[in-house]
């Protein structure tokens, strides 16, 4: 079995993002970048499946600028066998990413495609579902538990009401929740080894994919600031404030 894992390079989750003064976007210069957290879960799950002897090859893929290779390298250091970078400039919308991934799926013919359920930069939560639509494959989104049963995958999904279990036939797309597993750290020897693993590079033109933007960004603004609150000295004061000042209880 072959597993394709899609990853994205995003601003690190611990960074307090800042809006550019001219409202044209988010400040990304000199900001720490990392892999999208649920994509780490996607890689981890693929590696676990390979370690269990159920997969033979893991390919890590990303769509993004040249520097996104760092994110592919990280996946290689954790256990992916080879990498693919689809090199683009600027923001690429999920539909375009899904179309680019579709081309690679056609070429590589994986049995499973994993990715995080959502990227923490644009918070779109679209790419996996879109890719499964384009391929007309089953989709198992927001997965918190996966069990492989021959050519069937049993997936537990995190839904608003609790948990849902579905079975999908392979090939299938799985989008991963943070609760799926505990991503490992790459060891130093593996980081060194990952430097020798191959990364193939394509452009959207090579793949014949139109990645032109369909959604124009008009402006980006800071959220409205909350007015500064107060510290209360006691529980009695707190309850009194809630009752008499805020009038919410």
């Amino acid at each position: 079995m072959k597993i394709l894992v899609a990853v994205k390079r995003v601003i690190d989750y611990n960074v307090q993002v800042r809006v550019k003064e001219d409202g044209s976007g988010i400040v990304t210069e000199n900001v720490k970048m990392s892999s999208n957290p649920p994509d780490d879960n996607a890689i981890e799950e693929a590696v676990k499946i390979k370690e269990a002897g159920k997969a033979t090859e893991i390919i890590a893929i990303t769509v993004g600028e040249e520097k996104s290779q760092e994110t592919v390298r990280k996946a290689l250091a954790v256990g992916a066998d080879r990498g693919i970078l689809i090199k683009t400039e600027g923001n690429v919308e999920p539909l375009a990413v899904a179309k680019a991934l579709q081309k690679i799926v056609d070429k590589e013919k994986p049995d499973l495609v994993f990715m995080g359920k959502q990227a923490i930069d644009d918070d779109c939560n679209q790419t996996g579902q879109m890719l499964s639509a384009l391929l007309n494959w089953p989709q198992a989104t927001f997965a918190s538990k996966i069990e492989i049963k021959d050519k069937i995958l049993e997936v537990t999904r995190e839904i608003d009401e609790g948990l849902e279990t579905i079975e999908v036939s392979l090939p299938a797309i799985v989008t991963c929740d943070l609760r799926l597993n505990e991503p490992r750290y790459a060891s130093l020897p593996n980081i060194m080894k990952a430097k020798k693993k191959p990364i193939e590079i394509f452009t959207a033109t090579d793949l014949g994919v139109d990645i032109a933007s369909r959604v124009q960004l008009i402006k980006v603004e800071e959220p409205p600031k909350r007015k500064a609150g107060i510290k209360v000295a006691s529980v009695a004061e707190l309850v009194s404030k809630l009752k008499n000042e805020a009038k919410v209880i």
């Binding site: 989750y13 611990n14 993002v17 988010i26 999920p94 539909l95 923490i120 930069d121 918070d123 939560n125 679209q126 790419t127 996996g128 579902q129 879109m130 499964s132 639509a133 089953p138 989709q139 989104t141 927001f142 918190s144 049993e154 999904r157 839904i159 009401e161 609790g162 849902e164 279990t165 579905i166 079975e167 999908v168 036939s169 299938a172 943070l178 609760r179 933007s213 369909r214 959604v215 960004l217 008009i218 402006k219 980006v220 603004e221 800071e222 959220p223 909350r226 609150g229 107060i230 510290k231 006691s234 529980v235 009695a236 707190l238 309850v239 809630l242 009752k243 805020a246 919410v248 209880i249």
Partner: protein, 317 residues
């Protein structure tokens, strides 16, 4: 052209966020048609037809629509989409799972999780866990939109009499199969719509201590929330999680207990009207968004809080 709103329901009742989605849809175009896809869901069709903002209900029935698999729903939505300018659903796990599958089939770049309709093609949506808001304009001829339910009021539910049109079902997608759903039943208000939410974090230390939260929630008729740290530690089940990848809540009162206030948690609650933070670490980031902060040990503060509530003559419900 009108808006096609995809209803979320459980074949017996309309789910509450559908009402918020109808309000959002009617701000894009006043001709809102609701597509109801289900199995033996005649009561839901009737309920939808009585909503004054709804101009027509399209109703499709089939056994394979029972459990809302996106693979079964999407082809039907695509089939009826031709005459509509917008396709809309709520941005909860139902809509998040379904809408991108529809959008990709129609070659539309979806706009997710909007909090405001500026015009029929321009919307505001949060990015970076709500640390920035983007105004975006869709240039696709048809739009696929999911809406953040807590940013729109629920629509009226009575007084209308929209026609119900039965439409033919599409074929079953046989490669995906629903097995089971484990819903946690509760007598408390739903987290997404509750007027008051009391949430616990890692500071609760274990699951048993959530009893302290439960007692106060009972007294205030509140829903119970949690930080991801508390859910991951196994103190409480996942449907209680508030945050970037959990639920977004906008109650009148949010009480955060033993929650430090990671960016990802704040993303799910910082639009609440009044925020209370109870934490023994005076430097915790949660205090930066709190209207009322109490720097105290929660194991002392929560029993006192309950005592104080018990002393009150009346509590709003």
């Amino acid at each position: 052209m009108s808006v096609l709103l995809i209803a979320e329901h459980n074949n017996k009742e309309v789910k509450p966020f559908t009402l918020n989605a109808i309000t959002a849809a009617s701000q894009m175009d006043t001709g809102v048609h609701v597509l109801l896809i289900g199995n033996n869901c005649g009561d839901v069709a009737k309920a939808l037809s009585e909503m004054p903002s709804v101009k027509k209900v399209l109703h499709a029935e089939a056994a394979h629509y029972e459990n809302y698999l996106a693979e079964n729903f999407a082809p039907l939505v695509v089939k009826v989409s031709e005459n509509y300018s917008h396709i809309v659903s709520s941005a909860n796990t139902f809509g998040k799972n379904l809408m991108p599958r529809i959008a990709a089939h129609l070659d539309i770049s979806q706009v997710s999780d909007i909090t405001k309709v500026i015009s029929p093609d321009t919307f505001i949506r949060p990015i970076y866990a709500g640390n920035a808001f983007a105004t975006v304009k869709s240039t696709d001829a048809k739009k696929c939109i999911t809406i953040r339910p807590t940013s729109f009021e629920p629509c009226e539910t009575s007084g209308g009499s929209a026609p119900i049109e039965n439409i033919e079902a599409t074929e079953e997608f046989t490669l995906s199969k629903f097995i089971k759903r484990e819903e946690v039943k509760s007598d408390r208000p739903e987290l997404g719509t509750a007027r008051i939410v009391v949430s616990g974090g890692r500071g609760m230390q274990n699951g048993e201590n959530f009893k302290l939260i439960t007692d106060i929630a009972d007294k205030l008729n509140a829903a119970i929330g949690a930080s991801r740290a508390a859910v991951d530690a196994g103190y409480i089940s996942n449907e209680h999680q508030v945050g970037q990848t959990g639920k977004v809540v906008v109650p009148d009162l949010y009480i955060a207990v033993g929650i430090s206030g990671a960016i990802q948690h704040l993303a799910g609650m910082k639009e609440s009207k009044i925020i209370v933070a109870i934490n023994k670490d005076g430097e915790a980031p949660i205090f930066s968004v709190a209207d009322y902060g109490l720097e105290a040990d929660l194991f002392e503060a929560l029993p006192q809080f309950l005592d104080e509530l018990n002393k009150l003559n009346s509590i709003q419900k």
